[in-house]
Symmetry: C2
Subunit: 238 residues, 2 copies
């Protein structure tokens, strides 16, 4: 992790631990420079990263201010560093591995991963919980040419760390797709809902820095639990 990323995480932790509220002012840049003992450009990079992630907003000539907490029950739609460091004992969000297999890729999966139909892929099924309620069921597919080995222990811990630290993969960008539908019989039974009740489907295609897709996730959400927030950054900078 680069120094400015570390500082951004530290500052985010400070904001959370001190329950700072929307509009609360953070120390000036000079104070941050001397506190973290880094250059001005490092602090500015850290602040830019926090601004992009919706943690702070900058008012030119006035200072750095905290953005408000999101509404209760809404989870960040975009991946956040914090989610990597979840403590399963205290966190309201956790997941369970319910199955793992090597299968031939169906057309939908093959297309997402840029493979021929029936190419071999690892598939893992998860159930995610939030506040002890079922949040979603997720099926993840990994291109077996890129991820040649997986087991339950790796999956139960941090797959991301395994991909990065053990396999040396450079994880790049992702495409996220959302759409709505009605639950089919099997899904309705799983959630304890009725056939035809609403569901949200979230698909993510993860790419290496080279642009090659290596992982495809498809999750179906319980409609009462599917509450997402996106903290948009400056509209002006678009």
């Amino acid at each position: 992790m680069l120094k400015y990323q570390y500082i951004a995480i530290e500052m985010e932790r400070y904001i959370t631990e001190n329950s700072l509220q929307q509009g609360d002012k953070l120390p000036i840049i000079e104070t941050l420079i001397s506190h973290y003992k880094v250059s001005k450009s490092t602090i500015i990079k850290a602040l830019k990263l926090m601004e992009d992630k919706g943690i702070v907003f900058l008012v030119r000539g006035s200072g750095i201010f905290v953005r408000g907490q999101s509404r209760q029950g809404y989870v960040n739609l975009l991946p956040s560093q914090k989610f990597e460091q979840v403590d399963h004992n205290t966190s309201p969000a956790w997941r369970k591995v319910v199955g793992m297999d090597i299968v031939g890729a169906l057309p939908e999966v093959a297309k997402a991963l840029g493979l021929e139909n029936c190419s071999k892929v690892y598939t893992v099924k998860f159930v995610h919980y939030l506040e002890k309620q079922v949040l979603c069921m997720e099926q993840v597919f990994y291109n077996k040419d890129i991820i040649s080995y997986l087991d339950k222990e790796i999956i139960s811990n941090s797959i991301n760390n395994y991909l990065k630290d053990v396999l040396g993969l450079k994880i790049g960008f992702s495409d996220i797709y959302l759409n709505l539908d009605k639950l089919n019989t099997e899904e309705a039974r799983f959630f304890g809902l009725k056939l035809g009740d609403p569901m949200l489907c979230k698909e993510i295609i993860y790419h290496l820095t080279s642009g090659q897709p290596f992982c495809y996730s498809k999750a179906i959400y319980h409609y009462k639990q599917a509450k997402f927030v996106i903290k948009g950054n400056s509209v002006n900078s678009l």
Copy 2:
């Protein structure tokens, strides 16, 4: 608009008009510098902006590559510069103003805008269409202390330009909330769907650069039309 923003839009147009595909390589930075007659830092800012918006990806030591088109029928969830310049005659997406009023803010609206209950707000109702199908109905609320005057002509044109150019407002960041529910009788009738069919609710709270919320939008989507894509940027940079 700043020069690097202009260049980013120009380059995006070039990619669209030439139907460049995922993995297609763009010219090297030196070529872009001489083509646009700007400094290296301007080009790098433009490329960073395009990377953040999911238009290109950068491979260190290798070059700048185009990110693929999104799936057909999926619209960008995050606001994009392009959406400001929609030509209603050729674009598949357009909207109709179906009502406008000054009302007292209900608790939900007052909370979103940081106002007392019953404070005066402008409210505007829109119906959005995509490919001639009803996409969503949207109700927008504006804090009347900040936006003291609105009329149908302003609304039918670009409200954003009016807020920025006429009122001189500095538009900052936004919070986007998504959740699911079932259609009520009135909503079902509007969409020509059944009571209890799925719907997606998208709320956006827009803030000034000062952090003050000034606009709250609540939109209810037809479940067959609610298809969103988010082009995530580099996972490593999170």
